[in-house]
Amino acid sequence: MNDAFARLGLARHPWIEADEVRAAFHRLAATNHPDRAGSTADFSELTRAYEILRDPASRLRHFLAIEQPDRAPDAGIPADLIEWFPRVAAQLQALKRGDAGDAETTLAELTASRETAHARIRELDANHFDELAHALARLGFLDKWIAQLSEGLLALKL
């Protein structure tokens, strides 16, 4: 696997600020774009690296994959998220029926929970493989639920 961190000239770390990722992408795109002397193949690779690193979960997945390629980050569902399954499912059903219920509150709680997860990732490095793998599993669910609830609420508002 190509190292997206190296491709963007960034230090390999589980967390990088989105702003910093974009700045690195802009710096390299300015010279590597096909409209300036770059080749389409090179630019596609640069874009791919940017797409991997811009999102916290995909960045973390990539980090784990290049740190320990032989070790699958096989983390189950975080125990404290289990209660959320029926709650989110019920709220998505309600949103489909046109009932906002307390979806806003749930969304706020999930977003706060994601903020906490992000903050924790900031503090960790490659020595904390297992904890990072768990954080990745957690983000997988939180991102999905937040996206589904946001879309449901948006559809309801329009």
Binding site: T40, T47, L154
Partner: protein
């Protein structure tokens, strides 16, 4: 390197520009006008008339005068809501006939002849080209042409074809809001900022969110509607029109009223000798205009909110909201944008001209005349293929920076299978049939045992947002461009062939669908079981039994066998029934 011009091929008006001594300059026609109405009139005898003169003929021979053709470019007849009724209905305001078999490309019908929308557009482009050649005193053969950001692959291809029909080598298709951002950002190259471009034109709406950073114009997200614009406001006004006069007279009156109401509070348009020699007056207040226009303007809200969500940006983080497109002259639109984004919009750009200025700047980038500027644009729609069970499998997600490519490996599902039909789709819906079908192609396999024949397929979106498909032989590494049968160009006999083929393969499809359904069920079951297991204290025997049932499901998935998977699903469902009850008890109790 020869000159490249920039062109805004608009629904209502078109413009052309060229770089002059390092600056983008718009080119006027021989009457000194920079705006050329995108109108073509076909006289009974002689050459078609284009532009302002053609627009005047709309009143006299409406059925032989074609306008707003951009609404039909790259579209299939069946897609335009009731194409036949639209022609006859006074509501639509399209005074010429359009037709074409359902599923095939739209045709404009004038004086017994059928024209494709790109042929009509090519006539407009040819006039712009002639104007530019006269003004510049040299041959003009290369162009950058803009399209709505939300145009799909077929609409982009058709626009490119229109350029080629007009004798241009089309160097780039640029998204209109991105071009407008370029015009806005040229004087701010040293800054880093985030902006939104709200582009409401005659026929289309786009919203793009960009980050500008030291000459890099990076589109973060785009959204829009290619059938939403000032034309819809015109239709609403025509439906509301009470005076007994001909449709073309209504149209002229309401367009004038609409334009004047951007500055005046109420207008009176005299209609001399309108109804049987009697003179009438059309009165409209801004209040009434806004009452009719609000539901149309309101439709932009969802697109804006989705673009912001995709860009992961809150309205407060934006440094500017730039208005372009003629319809943004309406005070209603400006108030709406101010409310939606929580700030006064930036009206520094000329709503009609900014896009052409940007297209011309991009032409300058391509010719090397403009340095230190790079556009990083995105594809507005997700690109994917139809997968088992009629689902859309996304290969390149929407808002991916272009040019880009993504590979996908295909293998034979049954021993000795020699070919596989792949349908390429664009859109955001889960079900394949709800998305736009770009086309389809047949992938050929070597005869091999199941899962052994492999062909890699590369999907490439170029800088125009246009798709190319390459098949790669994994043994030889040889790449070959696959010609897709465009869904727009499918002829009647091709449709019949497709129907025959689908009857032949009906049995295959059926089992594929059954498997897909069973797989969805299995995914749900497995997720539920995995969620529940760590929460329960099961006996070793129970745990082993559940593990065995899970393995059965997993191997049935690996075998891609619908009957086996169904059976395994049922066994797992039955075997874990008591787990659900146990889990519920624990949750309630604890």
């Amino acid at each position: 390197m020869s000159l490249i011009v920039g062109i805004d091929l608009g629904t209502t008006n078109s413009l052309i520009g060229a770089m002059d001594a390092g600056f983008p300059v718009l080119i006027a026609d021989d009457a000194g006008e920079r705006l050329t109405p995108s109108v073509v009139h076909f006289p009974r005898d002689g050459e078609p008339i284009i532009g302002r003169a053609a627009a005047r003929m709309r009143a006299i021979e409406p059925e032989a005068t074609v306008y707003s053709v951009k609404r039909f470019i790259g579209r299939r007849a069946g897609e335009i809501e009731g194409p036949k009724s639209e022609v006859q209905s006074p509501k639509s305001g399209v005074s010429y006939a359009i037709g074409g078999e359902s599923g095939a490309a739209v045709k404009v019908l004038v004086r017994g002849r059928g024209f494709s929308p790109e042929e009509i557009s090519a006539l407009v482009l040819r006039k712009l080209r002639a104007d530019a050649e006269r003004a510049l005193g040299c041959a003009v053969t290369r162009a950058v042409i803009t399209v709505p950001a939300y145009f799909n692959d077929a609409q982009r291809n058709a626009t490119k074809r229109a350029g080629e029909l007009a004798g241009f080598s089309v160097e780039r298709i640029v998204n209109e809001p991105t071009a407008a951002a370029l015009a806005y950002g040229l004087e701010r190259l040293g800054e880093r900022s985030k902006v939104a471009v709200f582009d409401l034109g005659g026929g289309t709406f786009d919203i793009s969110i960009l980050e500008l950073n030291a000459g890099v114009f990076h589109v973060l997200a785009t959204n829009g509607n290619t059938r939403l614009g000032g034309d819809d406001i015109d239709h609403a006004l025509i439906s509301d029109f009470r005076l007994p006069i001909a449709d073309w007279q209504k149209r002229d009156a309401i367009v004038e009223a609409k334009h004047r109401l951007s500055v005046e509070e109420s207008v009176e348009i005299p209609l001399p000798f309108a109804a049987g020699g009697e003179s009438l007056v059309y009165r409209l207040t801004r209040h009434d205009l806004e009452r009719l226009a609000l539901p149309i303007v309101e439709k932009t809200r969802g697109h804006c909110l989705r673009a912001l969500a995709d860009a992961k940006i809150a309205p407060g983080e934006l440094d500017d909201v730039i208005l372009v497109g003629g319809s943004t002259r309406m005070p209603l639109v400006r108030r709406f944008v101010a409310e939606l984004f929580g700030r006064e919009p930036n009206t520094s750009q000329n709503p009609d001209e900014a896009i052409t200025i940007g297209a011309t700047l991009q032409a300058g980038v391509l010719s090397g005349e403009v340095q230190n500027v790079v556009l990083l644009d995105v594809t507005p729609l997700s690109l994917g293929i139809e997968t088992f069970g009629g689902l859309m499998n996304v290969i390149i997600p929407r808002n991916s920076t272009i040019p880009c490519k993504a590979g996908e490996m295909f293998t034979n599902a049954v021993p000795g299978q020699r070919a596989m039909l792949i349908r390429v789709l664009q859109g955001e819906r889960e079900l394949a049939r709800d998305n736009w079908e770009l086309g389809q192609f047949e992938l050929e396999f070597e005869s091999a045992p199941k899962g052994q024949a492999r062909v890699g397929v590369q999907f490439e979106l170029d800088a125009n947002g246009i798709l190319a498909v390459l098949a790669r032989d994994t043994k030889t590494g040889h790449e070959q461009r696959i010609e897709m049968r465009s869904a727009v160009d499918v002829t009647h006999s091709a449709v019949e062939q497709m129907l025959d083929a689908s009857l032949e393969h009906a049995f295959d499809d059926m089992s594929a669908r059954q498997f897909a359904e069973a797989k969805l069920k299995a995914d749900d079951l497995l997720a539920a079981v995995r969620a529940a297991l760590p929460r329960l204290s099961l006996s070793a025997a129970d745990e082993a039994e559940v593990a065995r049932l899970v393995t059965d499901v997993e191997s049935a998935i690996a075998l891609a066998s619908a009957p086996a998977l169904k059976k395994a699903n049922e066994a797992l469902d039955r075997g874990t029934e008591h787990l659900a009850a146990l889990l519920l008890d624990q949750l309630m109790g604890g």
